[in-house]
Amino acid sequence: MTYTQIGIAVVIAAIVVDVLVLRTRLVTRKGFWVSYAIVLFFQLLTNGVLTRLEVFRYSDSMIVGNQPDVGAPPFIGNGRIAYQPFEDLLMGFSLCLLACALWIFWGRRGVQRTPMSGPPIWRTWSSRSGSGGTASSGGAAASSPASADPRGTGDGKTPT
């Protein structure tokens, strides 16, 4: 099997694991796709550097494009996006989805589900009267469901 074929198969496998095996259904969540967009941007950047410098070289027969014998691959075209073979994006997506789905899976199972993330530090810097009021109610939410918190942050770790 080529890298292209394996890449497609692994994306499908990761989605099957997310939807059917772990039942985390992250692919239906807006939050996942926004965070993946961030991950994708940084993959294009960092993996672009590594493939531009030929830290990674790929076998011609395993990718849609080819690896130039001499010099860097094109920025775009010949099966490449930001110097990297588009197959790398398939691998990156699978790795991201699988790790995130397992993270949510273990949280649902009660493994360190709390303390939930947030709020950003700047929200507790400014307006101690405004958001500070809801933050202090988060202290009582340590045992109550995080969904009662309109922000969904469920900040159960208010310093005592």
Binding site: K30, Y36, R108, Q112, M116, G118
Partner: protein, 123 residues
């Protein structure tokens, strides 16, 4: 050692620093929940490292020995690749929790499985 050999390691450091600050600034609490983190990383790490070793051995891709520090596990896989499969999924989870921290969109673990209380219980 020539500086060039730190290329791959340097990029990994950039990814780690570029995501780890979210733990402080957005209170993602991912590194702090390290047991859950280790459980989440173990399976992807194992699967992708096996894939990587196989792909290197069968010649799907190769990694420049001039731009890696030169430590190879089992004589096949550069140590940078092992770090990659820890740092990148960690950055993905940090990114996921960072988005939740800022936007508050639910991700499905707001309640444990089987804890079926009424959801809409506005105070």
């Amino acid at each position: 050692m020539e500086l060039e050999r730190l290329t791959y390691l340097g990029v990994l450091l950039f990814i780690f620093i570029g995501s780890a600050w979210l733990e402080i600034a957005l209170r993602t609490r991912v590194l702090r929940r390290w047991k859950r983190l280790l459980l989440s990383l173990a399976i992807p790490f194992t699967l992708f490292v096996i894939w990587d070793i196989w792909a290197i051995m069968t010649g799907h891709w190769s990694i420049d020995p001039e731009r890696t520090v030169g430590i190879k596990m089992g004589g096949v896989i550069p140590i940078e690749e092992l770090i990659f499969f820890i740092v990148v999924p960690l950055a993905s989870i940090l990114s996921l929790e960072a988005v939740r921290s800022v936007r508050g969109w639910p991700l499905g673990d707001e309640k444990p499985v089987g804890d079926e209380e009424p959801v809409e219980q506005a105070p």
